[in-house]
Symmetry: C2
Subunit: 563 residues, 2 copies
């Protein structure tokens, strides 16, 4: 064996592994790097106040001269959303299909990304029949079905062997646009031998097949047929085929369609312009106009399928939407399922809508939504067609990887050839072997307001304490001349107890602190961190003893010097 | 009609209506009041730092001389958990079955409730065959099946008519203790005419029947049969029949059982002592002893089925449990389903367990858990048997009430006789009519640490802002003599940005504030709220412009007076 002389193909997941979100994966061979996707993740409760999370691209910045480009599999936020935040430092060519590039372009313009050659990005539209040559990599594409049109998977030809990356996929034999997944290409590649198959595992563990998107159209038809008043449908804005079906059914029932929510209007704009959405002339109306029509002539398509606090449907349910007032016997269709963590938000919106008297059609009522990801049997089909040497599950949490690996083993892939990679792992693939070869720097970069990466663990930890216990601030003023206490302690609290009703508690706390400070001699007083320590310790015990809480205590020492 | 002369039965839900949690309902007739249940609710994300929520009992305190007692339907937290917090002000007789009173008693002792006649509570054990006479109310009981033994529903005979309250129930024809729900009693009462049926709607909207608890025992038997190493099972501590089944199956496979988690040990204690749990001699072992046994001889029953951060299983999954280290090929069975809102916590625990190499058996793998609440068909059976004039859904959120009311209407109850009560509503029932008769004071009382009710909306709102944006504190010192700025502004931040890395930003903020303060004349300076307003406004715009955030800004003005 002379493997040590052979160059390796390195596969480095920088995100989207053991998690659902911020997908980004680098492929490196010699002096060539290509990147698949650049997505964001929405923050969990442990990241209070963080707007979104993007992958750490330190490794890519350090190797920027090797990078040939970023290839986007489809236009979802968790695949393209990070572009506006990383392109300032990593302005490399970007490749994707027409709709994907259309969405990426709008995203870059919206965010007004600066300093990049006068806002010139190197965006390249490819078709699933194209072949792309980037350094040592030769890339072919195959069409997939997903909850956004124009998604692709990749076949990456490398000197070490052929790698197939599934993209986000399901197998839909009756897709809305008639474009089925190109399984024939996979069969052809599979018969020539595949080194590595990287597979979407979002729904790994779900028995059977994910139903066709067509089912939703049939259910909508039934529901629309029963409605005598206005119909409001909420779904993910990017689910263009869903929008198409809603529009088609609306047309069948001679209803006009109005759009609500900025992202909904944006997507309909881009998708119509690029020919992915076909809206019969005269169907679309402004909301103001729809409000003048008879209720049985109106459908409103709106954002808010996750109960997001600022989204249009949420505001309608709270009766705080400026233009749309839900009326008794309006029908609201929730054509989406909750993203884990949003269950309670959307349940609250449903409850509020019922309270106003609307009929709400949601999950329990039948197939008003289907997933965009493959279930067990579809995943098995791909493994069998491709018959790869190695498999690497991505786009799933850890338990999804485990479900996938059980399936792969059942289908004859040796356990040691199931690569359970973690974020930042470098996995090296040779013609005859694969090995774990260390880690590169990775992590979660927090975006909060205009700041990227300036909110770290200390700040987040503080925010958590502040949120659960509140803060007590103790201010004292020290005379610079004498070094002794000059004024204070002044106590201010926020998020602790309502001060006006707890004057006695605060006054007692002041006395206790003052007593301790008076015990200090002038030498001790000059050591400010000692003084702060005394304040914190005294107040902490006092509060814990009297009301059993552990608020954030912040002593502030201010110095006064006569001018 | 002379209804206005007839006295009414008032039904007043003080909690547990349009929500799942803090159940409490008052029945009032003339000078008599009885109360059903006194539960807590666990706080949602909008109540950061709050430990638990209890009902507002202002109305009951104002009418304490009328109250004959609190009747507990069963021992779950959302039905008995508020007792330790309300009994100081409302020390009335309490009635419940043996296990329910046993649990309540332990709760009162644990919390060390003071000032109540030397810790003497008036706890009374009743049996489902007893009849209780409390003022104008005559109460009979019927056994129900639920996820805790010894639950009952109530038949409350009042001068206005007979009221049936379902308690929390399901219909289990093969319960673990052989004690089926007493449907025969319901039939008998139903044939005599029922004024009002108050029904548990937790699972209203779920098609079909809730499976028998027995199914879980069968699944556990199958799973245990496949395990060669240690088995760790997590479930709700109070699910005594589940514990019994786990213990029985463990005995079948000749495994010893160890308990982990304080509440698990507590429940096993109480339930064994009262005869609700039968543990064969020699089955229970301490964890230290279990650790010395061969893994295939051990079952550990543990808390943590909801992924609660401090629970035993969560700590095992994080490898931070002092006594139990999960080993590869140990099997962990999650014999519970996530309470809405806990989905992500438990998913994370499952992922962590898989990471250590454990086999995790959870929902997707089959019936390792069944619900304790009735599904649609069981609810319909009760409505049909009872054939009540009025129905009032409780123990559910708003959409569950709607699902219930659709069923009731389908079964022939007129729409106007379906009472969709809200918290605090007083519904008056006469022999021939029912009407809404105003509201009593109700609300959510927050318990945080040792404080009850001192955390209100202002404090919670502050906590939310603090948690998402952090706080900037600006301190200035004013000379009392001159009324002018003497020292400062001093700036301290927490949860905002990491200060050490943002010195420039903070310094610039100081300069901007100082510049504005110097523009103030001495008259303006004497108006502290004006000064604070200037600081807040200046800093708010500065921060928003420079990093797009809206932190909590807290100006503190301290005065110095020479002594």
């Amino acid at each position: 064996m002379n493997n040590y002389k052979e160059k390796a193909l390195s596969v480095i997941p920088l995100g989207g592994i053991s998690e659902i979100g911020k997908n980004m994966m680098a492929f490196e061979y010699g002096d060539d790097i290509i990147i698949i996707d650049a997505g964001i993740k929405f923050p969990t409760e442990e990241l209070p106040g963080v707007d979104l999370v993007i992958p750490d691209i330190t490794y890519l910045k350090e190797n920027i001269q090797k990078i040939h480009g970023i290839i986007l599999t489809h236009g979802h936020e968790d695949h393209v959303g990070a572009l506006p935040f990383i392109l300032e430092e990593l302005n490399v060519p970007i490749y994707g299909t027409s709709l994907t590039i259309g969405i990426a372009k709008r995203k870059l313009t919206d965010r007004d990304v600066k300093n990049i050659n006068n806002n010139r990005f190197d965006l390249n539209v490819i078709d699933s029949s194209d072949e792309l040559k980037l350094g040592s990599f030769k890339i072919n594409f195959f069409r997939v079905n997903h909850s956004i049109p124009d998604g692709v998977g990749l076949a990456i030809r490398t000197p070490a062997g052929l790698v197939v990356h599934s993209g986000d996929f399901k197998i839909d034999h009756t897709p809305v646009d008639g474009k089925v997944m190109e399984l024939n290409k996979l069969s052809r590649w599979g018969s020539h031998g595949i080194l590595l198959f990287i597979c979407d595992t979002t729904n790994a563990g779900k028995e059977g097949y994910t139903p066709s998107e067509k089912i939703v159209g049939e259910t909508l038809y039934d529901v629309f047929g029963r409605c005598e008043k206005r119909i409001i449908v909420t779904t993910f804005a990017s689910n263009v085929h869903r929008l198409q079906q809603i529009i088609n059914v609306a047309a069948d029932f001679n209803r006009r369609v109005a759009l609500s929510g900025r992202s909904m209007i944006n997507v309909v704009d881009v998708a119509s312009e690029l020919g992915y959405l076909h809206i019969p002339e005269g169907t679309l109306v402004e909301i103001e106009e729809a409000n003048k029509l008879s209720p049985d002539r109106v459908v409103i398509i709106t954002t808010g399928s996750q109960g997001e606090p600022m989204a249009a449907l949420t505001r309608m349910a709270l009766k705080s939407h400026r233009l749309i007032q839900i009326q008794p016997d309006d029908t609201v269709i929730i054509s989406a399922s909750p993203i884990p963590g949003n269950e309670k938000l959307i349940a609250r919106t449903i409850d509020n809508l019922f309270r106003i008297g609307a009929n709400v059609v949601y999950k329990v009522d039948g197939d008003v939504h289907v997933s965009g990801h493959a279930s067990n049997e579809e995943i098995k089909i791909l493994i069998k067609i491709l018959n790869p040497k190695y498999v690497l599950p991505f786009h799933g949490e850890y338990r999804h990887k485990i479900s996938f690996s059980h399936m792969a083993e059942d289908l004859g892939i040796p356990k040691e050839n199931v690569i359970l990679a973690e974020q930042g792992d470098r996995w090296e693939f040779y013609r005859k072997m694969a090995k774990h070869a260390g880690k590169v720097k990775t992590g979660e970069i927090m975006v909060d307001g205009l700041g990227i990466g300036d909110v770290g663990n200390i700040v987040l930890h503080d925010r958590q304490t502040l949120s659960t216990e509140g803060i007590i601030i103790v201010v004292i003023v020290i005379d610079k001349k004498t070094g002794m206490l000059m004024a204070g302690p002044e106590i201010v609290t926020r998020g602790f107890v309502y001060m006006r009703e707890n004057v006695q508690l605060i006054n007692n706390a002041k006395s206790v602190i003052l007593k301790e400070l008076k015990n200090l001699n002038s030498k001790q007083f000059k050591n400010w961190s000692h003084v702060k320590g005394v304040i914190t310790k005294t107040l902490f015990s006092f509060v814990l003893k009297h009301i059993g809480r552990k608020p954030f205590i912040l002593p502030i020492v201010t110095e006064y010097q006569e001018e």
